[in-house]
Symmetry: C2
């Protein structure tokens, strides 16, 4: 009798536990989403040793997607470091933000049914999600980095597509013998030239450095000036150079976020382009937006998007909406803090390493008041603009290559090959390796310095037209730096980003 | 004692039932995907009376997305038919396939974590998913509609982007004073002209109807001929017209699927373009692919994709992979059967209605042997190419408008306004309304016919240069039809698809 009573008690307790377990999530059980959700969670649980990741659409081996390893790691679970591999600081791929999204997987996941938004258009006949348009305006209001009131917004396939849509929209079409002259200030993002030359339109032509046209001598005709602020490659906040009724400007504000720069005030320009890539890190989603004052320009850009790709995919717009909600709705604007802290730490470490060097210098930028963070802060640009100071180091990237590092040659930006752009936005693995290799290069430099004093190697000299760059020092007193860049012919070749 | 024993028995039985219930799905419970999955299932359960749908990124009212109603339906749950609304048969939006994807929600859903493929590139440095490339090849092998062995594949933002990428890649760049002449056979898809003129490249120029150049008189210079097969708007299978070493062809095979046409053999052309829109119905995903023989052309198109949008979004590529798996892996190729049956039923109904008409006629196409279905079958084109037969009905779309129907004016395709393209690929609601309205128009015609005999209205006359179109009759003996189309100036204005 006592035994049966005990058994009954245990069975009832077990029932209670099973009920609680079943309904601890409010009783909801997935139905048609179950298969897809299980597959996603299964793939996410594949261990790649923290040096890679498996994806749902990865190559399949033994029935599951393989680990796709970060550069310099290998093996089936990315646990093997490959010591001979190159520290690749060429591409501006913003993988530094990936850990934030891994942490917030639950909030940032989307489920896309097979029937989601199949139609060519939204119900209002447009190609743009009104919810996403509104979210972008909320984003800029929260960050305070751009005016959107009374402006039009166009979505595009990254800033990449919007840049040439804007150039097209702003170019004179009434003067077939006088195409608009497209200019940018050296050093500038190479794609401006490459794109414009590749599409070879009758309406516009890439003419090179803005400074050639800043003295009135060549200023006949229409101009389209590309202004990148913060600039790529050197991180400086920039303003338009040319003025006048025949000048139209495109402001490429890809990096105008607290991750990379103080935000002194909301940008308020005629045509401003932003990209998701540099904000959330989702370069692979190919999403950007343009904020436009003039309605006629807006209509032309809409037409461009219609005839070019008929808009931006619906699954991308859904995903971006979710990502931007996470970006501004998590308490304390955590994504921006994460981005800024990561970049700030990287600059601190890099500056400390470079402070020991006479052979190399990196750019210095003044602190400014930031309205987002409500304090005076230093820029933390996406790239280091490295300069080889020694006379004989004319090809700086070659110097780096000899120590298994590669960056992007300065000549591609219209500057000298004495400069190299180093990407600081890649994954933690990439940055750690870059820092180690630069550290080794700097410490070898100090071994060489004895040879210099003994006359074996030439002294570091001031090169005629350059002011010596102020060096990074430990007291963090940042002097302003003025650099002049000679106009170089760009190598027109295909660049990976 | 007996009571306690009975209670114990019941409790143990309940234990077993609860265990079975908990683990009936293999014991798996969603963790980080739960929130997103619950949200998706909640939105899917919103009832829109079968005449609309709610989406995850729709406008929010009372805390949930609103129903987005099919045209001609309104009210908060799309239950109100709006009798005055226009039956819109203008756009080729392939919503007829939506019911298939609703039925197969579980298999066609994707879950996209916030960290999915953030990088600009895949691990091999490319912008294309190797798994998706392989799946496309499997698709064409399963359907037998295109040769892919030994060919290169480029992804693009719909056929829209690939068409101008192909025109760019095939155009001569060595002769700035002699741009390539881009031609297409009337009636042709208006976007060919609109795109080419809008981008206004120095490398190519739209020159109009192919037939102008088919006699050797104007055949100097390089030509790029666009061949659409089945043709848009009339559904005919077409071949290239021009021949010779200075001619390059682009085959737009958007409709070369069993839904719309017999597939006599795998297409085996130098450059073939397909779009997801017309295959699965996902026009909003902006995904197409080109199959290319020549490696140099392939590289130029890759460069175009790089400088234009830097590839196609990763979430789109993931989704397309899933959709194409469903397309060919469900038993009996159900998606293709569903597509064909739907189009076949619609043509049967439309033909029956039009068989009663003398005022209007629709195109007739010969049956052909189909290798996919292994039988002789009639074409079931995406569009009816409607002709107004009466002398006075020069503006056929105006005739339709008077009965609350609208199609796409034939002049936009380079034909006369006596022709109208009617879309047969939209939703069931759209087709049902079109059929009803056409039926009313035809029955009113029979009321008018008395007036004609009495001399009130002019007789139907044979127009000089046109052969009377063979009419659809109930015996389904399909005679071949030869039509000649005069070259008309296209109205260059923005078209919704």
């Amino acid at each position: 009798m006592a035994t049966i009573t005990v058994l009954l008690g245990c069975s009832v307790l077990l029932n209670l536990l099973l009920f609680v377990s079943m309904y601890s999530h409010g009783g909801w059980e997935p139905s048609w989403t179950r298969t897809a959700a299980a597959e996603a969670e299964s793939v996410a649980s594949i261990s790649c040793s923290g040096h890679g990741r498996a994806f749902l659409d990865g190559s399949i081996l033994d029935g599951e997607p393989v680990c796709e390893c970060n550069p310099c790691y290998g093996g089936p679970h990315c646990s093997v470091f490959l010591p001979e591999c190159v520290a690749d600081a060429d591409s501006g791929d913003p993988m530094f933000l990936e850990p934030f999204w891994v942490k917030h997987a639950a909030r940032s996941t989307i489920v896309v049914p097979g029937w989601h938004r199949m139609s060519y258009e939204f119900n209002d006949g447009s190609l743009v999600s009104k919810e996403l348009d509104a979210q972008i305006r909320r984003l800029h209001a929260a960050v305070g980095n751009a005016v959107t009131d009374g402006r039009f917004i166009v979505f595009g396939g990254g800033a990449t597509q919007l840049l040439h849509a804007a150039v097209h929209a702003l170019s004179a079409t009434n003067h077939p013998l006088s195409p608009s002259r497209v200019v940018a200030s050296t050093p500038y993002y190479p794609v401006y030239r490459e794109q414009t030359e590749f599409f070879n339109s009758q309406d516009y032509k890439f003419e090179g450095d803005t400074s050639l046209y800043n003295n009135g001598r060549f200023s006949q005709g229409n101009f389209v000036e590309l202004v990148t602020s913060p600039n790529n490659p050197d991180g400086k906040l920039k303003k338009a150079v040319l003025q006048g009724p025949s000048v139209k400007t495109i402001h490429d504000l890809a990096y105008y976020w607290p991750h990379y720069t103080p935000v002194p005030a909301p940008a308020d320009e005629d045509l401003m382009i932003f990209t998701l890539s540099k904000l959330t890190g989702h370069g692979g989603s190919r999403f950007g937006w343009a904020i436009i004052k003039d309605e006629a320009v807006y209509q032309r850009m809409l037409t461009y998007m219609t005839l070019s790709t008929y808009g931006v995919p619906r699954e991308t717009q859904l995903r971006v909406l979710k990502l931007l909600k996470v970006a501004i709705e998590i308490e304390g604007k955590e994504m921006f803090n994460f981005g800024y802290q990561t970049m700030s730490n990287r600059w601190r470490k890099l500056s400390k390493t470079m402070s020991k060097s006479k052979r190399f210098s990196i750019q210095e930028l003044e602190p400014q008041r930031c309205s987002f963070s409500q304090k005076l802060r230093k820029p933390t640009p996406a790239f280091a603009w490295l300069k080889c100071e020694r006379e004989e180091d004319k090809d700086c990237n070659a110097v780096l290559n000899s120590n298994n590092i590669t960056g992007r040659d300065g000549s591609l930006f219209g500057a000298e090959s004495r400069y190299v752009r180093l990407s600081l936005v890649k994954s933690e693995d990439d940055f750690d390796l870059l820092l180690r290799r630069m550290g080794m290069l700097v410490s070898r430099e100090n071994d060489d310095s004895g040879d210099r004093i003994n006359g074996i190697l030439p002294q570091n000299e001031t090169i005629g037209k350059y002011l010596p760059s102020a060096r990074i020092n430990d007291s963090h007193e940042w002097d302003s730096v003025t650099c002049r860049w000679p106009l170089e012919e760009l190598a027109t070749h295909l660049l990976a980003r």
